[in-house]
């Protein structure tokens, strides 16, 4: 269209004719088919995660619960009541096998509680420091080192627990000073290293929620004469509490599922004890040790692996769900 000519106008009452086969009708084109194919392939990619979850559930249930002719699952050979209440876990002893999961639960509980007692307060304190107190320079050192700490493989934490914490810290202090007897493998060393492992996770998740608290809340606190401590501990932390609890739950669920650090540092003797200085076995370290030893497929020891993994899966899944539910249900929405 040249610059001078007036644009073509249509009279207001003119009928707009849509020619047959115009773009308004849906027609088959190769381009369209190609686009549709891509959409289906991408949906397939997204469904891989669903298939993975479904296969995990199927695999765990198949060996432990599903019952059909010619296949007796774990809970067909060991009753659920015995599994949950018996106090001995001796799958390796031929002729004297006991399948009571309590010692393994107890071991997991010991390491998780120790890890939580160290990792959660330290992580929250770091989060408060990073979001409220730290100078930009301090942050620029602390953030990368926390990321580095979070990225260290768990075998390394096991090594530290077994060859550094136990002989150089725990034994000299507890045996040397207090006269307690400490095993070479003990739940305490594993719990401490797992605590240090989950600490960066707690710190980074909690820092995100602390930073999301609007600064108007801080300013209101200062305007009323609150000190920095009052603002941090009595305003910011309570307003971010739901996010902090969700972070705690995620970190604890990670501590429960942690394998190598506890398998190396805590030993492999399932014992029903609440003494963290003893050698114990967690659910995860049982699985790793049993799998190493080429267990015959289909035997009851082999199936007990799946039963333990099922318990582990259910516990961590529940904690993740509760954590997500807390986030959704109690989220404080600030404009």
């Amino acid at each position: 269209m040249t610059a001078g000519s007036p644009p073509p106008t249509t009279p207001a009452n003119a009928q707009v004719k849509v020619p047959r086969g115009s773009s308004l009708k849906r027609r088959f084109t190769w381009n369209g088919a190609y686009e549709k194919c891509i959409r289906i392939v991408l949906l397939g990619c997204a469904l891989v995660s669903v298939i993975t979850t479904a296969s995990i559930v199927f695999v765990l249930l198949y060996e432990s619960v599903l019952w059909f002719p010619g296949h007796t699952p774990f809970f067909g050979k060991v009753s659920l009541v015995e599994f949950l209440t018996a106090t001995q876990w001796t799958p390796q002893f031929d002729g004297n096998q006991h399948f009571g999961i309590l010692p393994l639960i107890c071991g997991t509980l010991l390491t998780t509680v120790t890890a939580g007692a160290i990792g959660l307060p330290m992580g929250l304190a770091s989060a408060i420091y990073l979001s409220e107190y730290a100078s930009p320079q301090a942050r620029s050192i602390l953030k990368p080192s926390l990321e580095l700490l979070a990225g260290i493989p768990t075998v390394v934490y096991g090594y530290i627990g077994l060859f550094f914490l136990t002989p150089l810290l725990i034994k000299p202090v507890l045996t040397g000073v207090f006269g307690l007897s400490v095993d070479g493998f003990n739940a305490l060393s594993g719990g401490i290293v797992v605590g240090l492992m989950i600490m960066p996770m707690v710190a980074s998740l909690s820092e995100d929620v602390l930073r999301a608290v609007p600064s108007s809340l801080r300013e209101a606190g200062y305007a009323l004469g609150a000190t920095k401590y009052d603002v941090s501990a009595k305003i910011i932390v309570p307003s971010a509490l739901s996010g902090i609890i969700a972070a705690f739950l995620l970190a604890l669920s990670r501590a429960i599922g942690e394998t190598m650090a506890v398998a190396i540092a805590c030993g492999n003797r399932p014992q029903l004890t609440l003494n963290p200085l003893r050698q114990i076995q967690t659910m995860t370290s049982f699985i790793v040790n049993m799998m190493k030893g080429d267990t015959p497929v289909g035997s009851i020891e082999y199936q007990s692996l799946y039963a333990v993994a099922l318990v582990l899966f259910l516990i961590t899944l529940t904690m993740n769900y509760v954590s997500q539910w807390i986030l959704r249900r109690y989220r404080e929405a600030y404009q």
């Binding site: 959409r39 995660s49 669903v50 260290i152 060859f163 501990a233 669920s253 990670r254 394998t259 497929v297």
Partner: protein, 331 residues
């Protein structure tokens, strides 16, 4: 309730003391983690020092601590992570594109999203059990092998996969998948909508818009997420231990032990995915469990140093990629 001024100032002093204590505690807790990091690095390097020789990198494992090396683990981890990335990245990025660009907000999308965040919280050892059942044993199918005759070389594919590189890679790929999907979703979300609108307004189809405009713009974020996920996979021990991967092995996957092997028998590359393997963290775990103190303390520490150096290099490249692209792109 009335408060005298004296009373109030006393209270204020207490509050300030309390505040000082609180700040000091928080500061101490944070710096303690840095101190811990430095201490463990120093302890490990000092113990590893006598064993950190070039031979440690170029020799295979041995029963004698002075001649034990990590070559099998280094090459095994290399192939493992290569195949893990090749499997996990297309699927993960595809899933992220579907969820961010195509999916409508309906029950299916919400279900997939919920499922991904739950999968991210499943312990790695459970993935190991899945991998053992589904890839190593393939639900107990009878042992056979398919031989693909390609003319220049025969590829022997064992069924079930057994304790091969491909079984390990598939397992690690499933483990990394949620991390890659979540990171890619965030990267795609950060691409401004105006870019998509502009492409669509110029007549590009949806896939053209995504593949030529949105994906390149989101690439730095996606790459960073992928490298972080793969470096996590590199340090994973538990799933591989559960798969039953070898601890002690004196050859690399495909028997490609050196560059000259590769030059003389390039056809062995095809056999790599179906060969046995060990990985760096598995070798470390094996050395920690050895009886001899030399193995336990020194050789395993040397292995840890090598593993950490590789991890730092991977993370460093992630940071470089992020900075390189951030300078180029400006909206």
């Amino acid at each position: 309730m009335s408060q005298t001024p004296e009373n109030f100032s006393a209270n204020l002093a207490w509050r300030h003391r309390m505040g000082w204590l609180f700040a000091a505690t928080c500061r101490l807790a944070t710096w303690a983690s840095v101190v811990f990091l430095v201490v463990i690095l120093l302890v490990i390097v000092s113990r590893a020092w006598p064993r950190l020789t070039p031979e440690f990198l170029t020799h295979f494992d041995s029963y004698k601590p002075e001649s034990a090396g990590m070559l099998a683990g280094i090459l095994g981890s290399f192939w493992l992570i290569l195949f893990t990335g090749a499997i996990c990245v297309p699927i993960g990025v595809g899933a992220a594109i579907y969820l961010e660009e195509y999916a409508r907000s309906n029950w299916l999308t919400r279900f997939i999203q919920l499922n991904i965040s739950n999968l991210a919280g499943v312990p790695s050892i459970v993935f190991g059990i899945l991998g053992f059942t589904a890839f190593v044993r393939m639900f107990g199918v009878p042992r056979t092998a398919i031989v693909l005759a390609l003319g220049f070389a025969d590829v022997r594919i064992p069924l079930p996969f057994g304790r091969s590189v491909i079984a390990g890679s598939l397992t690690l790929a499933l483990l990394c998948l949620p991390v890659v999907i979540i990171a890619s979703q965030e990267a795609l979300r950060s691409v401004p909508a105006s870019l998509r609108h502009a492409a669509l307004a110029l007549g590009a189809t949806k896939w053209q818009t995504i593949s030529r405009q949105v994906l390149p713009a989101a690439m730095p974020g996606i790459l960073t997420g992928v490298i972080l996920a793969l470096s996590r996979a590199l340090g994973e021990t538990a799933p591989l231990a559960v798969l039953g991967a070898a601890y002690f092995i004196t050859f690399a996957p495909g028997r490609i032990n050196s560059a000259s092997d590769l030059a003389q028998h390039p056809d062995r590359l095809l056999q790599v995915p179906f060969d046995q393997f060990t990985a760096m963290p598995l070798q470390i775990y094996n050395w920690v469990n050895e009886q001899s103190r030399d193995f336990q303390q020194q050789v395993s520490a040397a292995g840890i140093v090598v593993l950490l150096v590789v991890l730092v290099l991977m993370n460093g490249s992630a940071i470089l990629i992020r900075q390189h692209f951030q300078r180029k792109i400006r909206w």
